[in-house]
Subunit: 185 residues, 2 copies
């Protein structure tokens, strides 16, 4: 049934966006309130531990999205090539050709890394491992699959950094194009 009151889960998407845009310290409660349409009282009702809990919730939601949309197909899909193609398409859309930062990557190079170390590590471990499995199913040798998977994930992160630095989505798209070649069977 329809509810007029907000639900905690409704806040996660705007929360993610505001943390992506302003970072952990830059996202003040005033900005967060504006983004979610909620006052401080409501925010602390949903997240009693404040900003740190908000980010943990957002990271968990992001992890779940990647799990469903990207990792699971890479691990279990019956067509490894198709899952890899789908991954490249999905990240291009998700990161808006590099004009939208990766919150996990941004946290990793910030001073808040240690606070969220487990979530950050998990996100990347799962990504590399899922891609590695797809490459093995493609018929690659163990060592090459490991190496290619790591290379692909770091290339995507680097493409975001460089693409944003140069304010040029083309950088991201060319990087994805190169990966398409390197990762195809």
């Amino acid at each position: 049934m329809a509810r007029l009151v907000a639900e905690r889960s409704d806040t996660l998407a705007p929360l993610a966006e505001v943390f992506r845009e302003y970072g952990y310290e830059g996202a003040s409660l005033a900005l967060i309130g504006k983004a979610t349409g909620l006052g401080k009282g409501s925010l602390y009702h949903f997240f009693p531990e404040g900003k740190e809990e908000m980010v943990r919730a957002v990271l968990s939601e992001i992890g779940q999205w990647f799990e469903d949309a990207i990792y699971a197909p890479l691990r279990d899909g019956n067509d490894a090539d198709a899952a890899i193609e789908a991954m490249l398409d999905a990240v291009t859309t998700y990161f808006r050709s590099g004009q939208r930062v990766c919150l996990v990557g941004a946290l990793a190079v910030s001073n808040t890394r240690e606070r969220f170390a487990d979530a950050i590590r998990g996100y990347f471990v799962d990504w590399v491992e899922a891609l590695r499995l797809a490459l093995v199913r493609q018929g690659r040798e163990e060592e090459q699959a490991r190496s290619l998977a790591e290379d692909a994930v770091l290339s995507i992160q680097g493409a975001i950094v460089l693409s944003r630095s140069l304010d040029d989505p083309g950088v991201f798209e060319r990087a994805i194009g190169q990966l398409r070649g390197r990762l195809s069977a």
Copy 2:
């Protein structure tokens, strides 16, 4: 002659380190004072416009270091291969195998990007262009040189992100090893 008073240039190295570790907003004047050994009065004497001027000075110093140590040899050295090898060694040392973040890259994925957009862009434009020229001197075709140069620079940035995320210098070192192969004539 020896001087007991600090010079502005003496502050740049500790300033760079504190901004790398804590980010722009995370680096409070208290931390900055501790890192430089200077009080607020002295800091505002050297940098009347405050933190923003400090970061601009640091970025300028970093740009100069890369220019001298990396870009100039890539552009003008008479041995392109040697200059590329030297670049890979230099970044491994400079970024401590990925355990030390790239301040420029970190700023690029933060909310302060726009404030320092020119310096960020310049750093990466110069790097890609210098490497591209070395690859052309290696005998590569124009388009391949451009593509390889962009790929190498973004791979280094991505290697820092992933290496820090996984707390594993090996990630960075393997990425540099891959680049060694891709960039050798």
